[in-house]
């Protein structure tokens, strides 16, 4: 492999938004106040399923300080959804007109002079419902005679997915050992620290500006325009700082829609901030899944055939749940070579809050089930957990039949590193175990169900007279650090310093289109677009520099750290900043401008590139209380070329906290569609005191499809932790919990059961 020498890439660069964030100056949507701004609130359904018979808003309208009260009847009545290519899947009105399908579904919205008045007005709106029986569990909702949520969806089947390769039946015939397991994967709330919020400002010119906390300003612009009947580019979406996303903020939400219709009605700015309770009970969440997995292997642990079936709890609407259904099926086979594989997935509508995208996007569920089963198989066959994974691991150049081509893959090295670490731990004390889980993830999806006619990512770059570079990107930084990543990629390619880059993002009016920060797409896709733009700009500068230096034609030039030079004779060169001045003069006074774009072509069905890794968790299980204490969490990780080590480390540690929460503390229990813990007291996410020691070991590979060889490093890290945790419990106690989260109660019950056997 060619050794690359970089001046910016792989150096720990301070986050370029850092000073704004640590001094409190970063202005989030939550902080925005506009002149004449009103405050909005949303009335939500108390019923999981019901017909709206009548809504009387007159009392609310008469309350002093109330400016407008709107219901579904005041909208165009259009249904929207992010799967725009499939009309049936665009099933959500946002403001219900005739029927409510989950507790928390918006039915009316109010704008008033302040939040208290708006809140008071909600109590004065009289809604008459005809309550209907609900369907709450997917396995119940699919049965004949269950209450049906949508007219078009017989038996409440929303989406089905099938994936298959190889001869599965033949594979099982050849197997020495076949194992079947059933799993239940729970839901999880994103819990962004900034709740969903938006400020809409509609002006009589017919233009709507929406400030909002989002992962994709482009999606929000298009979806808003469509549902409001506006021209796409009469809607401007601005999102400079986003207080967390994790998958919850790239679909159109109730705050964005309601404040937009209120502002359009009043021609005044309206702000809506969801309360923490609304955030828990009425925004989308991780998809609960019921998995059946059957695997056939040889005596020596070689994988032969796998069959997976899943029913997912869809909640009331499609949302991004259709994608989660597809990805969970693909990643159920990951990161292994399964000669034959068959997956059937069913997403079922239920009268619960819709389930959708959340960091990992169906893969954490799949990985938990798969990795738990692999340890059970290994145990049964007397094979070491690392060995069975090594034997079946994906490798560079492997082709998943009909699905994907794996280019770079450092899974083998990751397994070696984790193996060494486990051995270094020696003999463990009683009731302690180490569990491992291998994982992988995509670097951006190649699918286009949104039906965008634009390139997936675009960048525009302008070099000014003082050498300062204006870089316009469509990517969205929700905290993952893509702004810094893009500035670094641009600086490296152009040969300047990160301080020379002035990044522009988060505004559909000035920034080119990018599909947004989801599916781990930014580093690879937006990164490639930025690299292309920078490379084209560099070419323009090098033309001037070459003319000026007049080298022998066999020499070529490069720029590093602001120094334009002959590659073979680095001392012979010119200052980038001087050349820029002259180049602009030479261009009749025009700044140097270049564009870049990226759309994956012919890269399989899923993604152009995949990250890999192996995680080990060391945990104590208290046999008297069932309490699990995390001791160590060690991860060997292949994200291709690391761009910003500070960023990768942060992503990894953050993912552990979130995914460990999914594994053993976080859950959204419900009673007939009502979430029972919609607050931060009862919803148990990890606090600083519960975090284990974390250690990251980077395995560097070079991904030919990624910018400078990079691939995703943020989302896939959410995949292994629940499985590794479950396996740690298994090795500590001999019990395997197949029902997330692994609570003390479940552990105690299983221990009791084991004793009684």
């Amino acid at each position: 492999m060619k050794k690359h020498t970089y001046t910016v890439i792989n150096t720990p660069i301070h986050n370029i938004d850092g000073i704004a964030k640590i001094t409190g100056r970063a202005e989030y949507t939550f902080d925005i106040t506009l002149p004449r701004m009103l405050h909005g609130k949303i009335l939500r359904s108390p019923y999981p399923h019901g017909e709206i018979i009548h809504i009387d808003t007159s009392k609310a309208e008469r309350l002093k300080g109330v400016k407008a009260v709107l219901t579904g009847k005041d909208t165009l009545g259009r249904k929207q959804g992010i799967w725009r290519r499939f009309k049936e899947l665009c099933d959500e009105e946002i403001l219900a007109r005739d029927k409510v399908r989950y507790i928390g579904e918006p039915v009316a919205t109010v704008a008033a002079v302040d939040e208290d008045t708006a809140e008071e007005a909600l109590d004065l709106i009289e809604v008459e419902y005809n309550a209907l029986p609900g369907a709450f569990e997917p396995l119940e909702a699919i049965k004949e005679g269950a209450p049906q949520l949508h007219e078009h969806a017989e038996r409440n089947i929303n989406v089905t997915r099938h994936i298959e390769w190889g001869d599965v039946d033949e594979g099982f015939k050849k197997a020495d050992y076949v194992r079947e397991d059933w799993f239940r994967c729970s839901s999880q709330a994103h819990v962004c620290m900034e709740t969903h919020c938006a400020v809409a400002d509609y002006t009589p010119e017919g233009k709507l500006t929406v400030y909002t906390s989002t992962q994709s300003h482009y999606y929000i612009k298009v979806l808003l325009a469509e549902i409001l009947g506006l021209r796409e580019n009469d809607v401007r979406v601005i999102s400079r700082y986003t207080g967390g996303g994790f998958g919850s903020k790239f679909e159109l939400d109730s705050a964005q829609f309601c404040c937009s219709i209120l502002s359009m009605k009043l021609c005044q700015p309206v702000k809506i901030v969801l309360t923490r309770e609304e955030e828990f009970s009425a925004t989308k969440r991780r998809t609960p899944m019921f998995y059946y997995i059957r695997s056939g292997v040889k005596k020596d642990g070689a994988f032969l055939a796998k069959e997976a079936r899943v029913f997912t709890e869809g909640g009331a609407y499609t949302a991004m749940g259709a994608t989660a259904l597809y990805l969970t099926g693909f990643f159920q086979s990951f990161p292994y070579v399964w000669p034959s594989y068959r997956y059937d997935g069913y997403r079922v509508y239920t009268n619960t809050a819709p389930t959708s995208a959340m960091r990992g996007f169906g893969a954490p569920q799949a990985t938990f089930c798969a990795e738990t089963q692999i340890d059970l198989i290994a145990d049964e066959l007397g094979i070491d957990p690392i060995d069975i994974r090594r034997k079946n691991a994906m490798y560079p150049g492997y082709e998943v039949p009909g699905q994907a081509t794996i280019q770079s893959c450092g899974l083998g090295q990751c397994l070696d590193k984790i193996d060494d670490w486990i051995k270094s731990r020696g003999k463990l004390p009683p009731n302690r175990g180490i569990g491992v889980s291998a994982y992988g993830f995509m670097s951006g999806g190649i699918f286009n169900w949104f039906d965008t006619p634009y390139a997936f990512s675009s960048a525009v770059l302008q070099i000014n007279i003082d050498g300062k570079v204006d870089l316009f990107v469509g990517s969205q930084d929700m905290g993952q650090g893509s702004n810094t990543t893009m500035a670094m990629i641009c600086a490296e390619e152009l040969g300047v310093k990160v301080e020379d880059i002035r990044l522009h993002m988060g505004d559909t009016e000035t920034c080119p289109v990018d599909l947004g920060a989801w599916g781990s797409r930014e580093t690879l896709m937006q990164g490639n677009a930025v690299k292309m733009a920078a490379s084209k700009a560099k070419q323009q500068i090098l033309e001037f520099a070459t003319a000026k230096l007049a080298p022998n034609i066999v020499y070529d030039l490069d720029i590093k750290d602001g120094w334009i030079h002959l590659i073979a004779r680095p001392e012979r060169g010119l200052s980038f900043y001087d050349v820029v001045k002259e180049a602009i003069r030479g261009k009749d006074g025009q700044p140097i401008i270049a564009r870049g774009h990226y759309t994956p072509h012919r890269k399989g069905m899923i993604s152009p590139a995949y990250s890999f890794g192996v995680q080990a968790i060391e945990a104590d299980v208290n046999p008297d209380t069932g309490k699990i204490t995390l001791k160590n969490c060690v991860t060997a990780h292949d994200c291709g070329q690391v761009i910003n080590p500070l960023g990768v480390e942060g992503q990894l540690e953050g993912a552990i906290a979130m995914a460990a929460g999914y594994g053993f503390t976080e859950d959204l229990p419900m009673d007939e569609g009502k979430i029972l813990n919609p607050n931060l007291v009862d919803y148990m996410l990890l606090r600083a005191t519960e975090m284990p020691e974390t250690k990251v070991m980077e395995v560097e590979t070079y991904e030919p499809e990624g910018p400078f060889g990079a691939k995703e490093a943020g989302e896939g890290l959410t995949n292994p932790t629940a499985g590794a945790l479950g396996n740690a419990v298994f090795h500590a106690t001999g019990i395997s919990i197949k029902n997330l989260p692994i609570t003390p109660e479940k552990v105690l019950n299983a221990l009791k059961e084991k004793k009684n056997k």
Partner: protein, 159 residues
């Protein structure tokens, strides 16, 4: 409800404010004084995004009414450093990447500042921020940043 006069010294600036006695301190800071660096992430006193210093102690400003703290001295994130300067803790946050989305950061900084002022030798830094939720970082980078300051690595570095 009748408005009341409240005296507050916020970031060393003295204010006399006529406010509704129902208003929380966080609302006064954000809405009356435009100090929007202090955030709100919940209404149950659970997340710590609204943490400020009240007479030097870390307090969740959504859990006190402004009238309750009449005459108090308040420091918010905007008051941590002078002008263009940064405190050692802020510098350490930058160096350690101790924030991502940044929404909890103000509260984290205030809790950690109070902790460092009270007991800079304590080993158990985790307890100093256990009242603050961060959904992005997994806390460890924050703990490293605070530890570096506690260990004196930034003694000469405030600017």
């Amino acid at each position: 409800m009748k408005k009341k006069l409240v005296h507050l010294t916020v970031n060393e600036e003295y204010h006399e404010l006529y406010i509704s006695p129902r208003k929380l301190l966080v609302e006064i800071l954000r809405d009356e004084l435009d100090l929007t660096g202090t955030k709100r992430g919940c209404s149950t006193g659970s997340c710590g995004a609204c943490t400020i210093l009240l007479d030097g102690a870390a307090v969740k400003s959504c859990s006190v009414l402004a009238v309750q703290v009449d005459g108090a001295k308040v420091t918010t994130v905007e008051g941590l450093a002078d002008g263009a300067g940064l405190t050692p803790l802020q510098l350490s946050f930058l160096d350690h990447g101790a924030f991502q989305c940044g929404f909890c950061t103000s509260g984290m900084l205030m809790s950690a500042t109070a902790f460092l002022n009270e007991d800079p030798v304590s080993e158990d830094i985790k307890k100093g921020i256990q009242g603050n939720i961060c959904r992005c970082t997994g806390y460890n980078s924050i703990l490293r940043a605070i530890r570096a300051v506690a260990e004196g690595k930034y003694e000469d570095e405030g600017r």
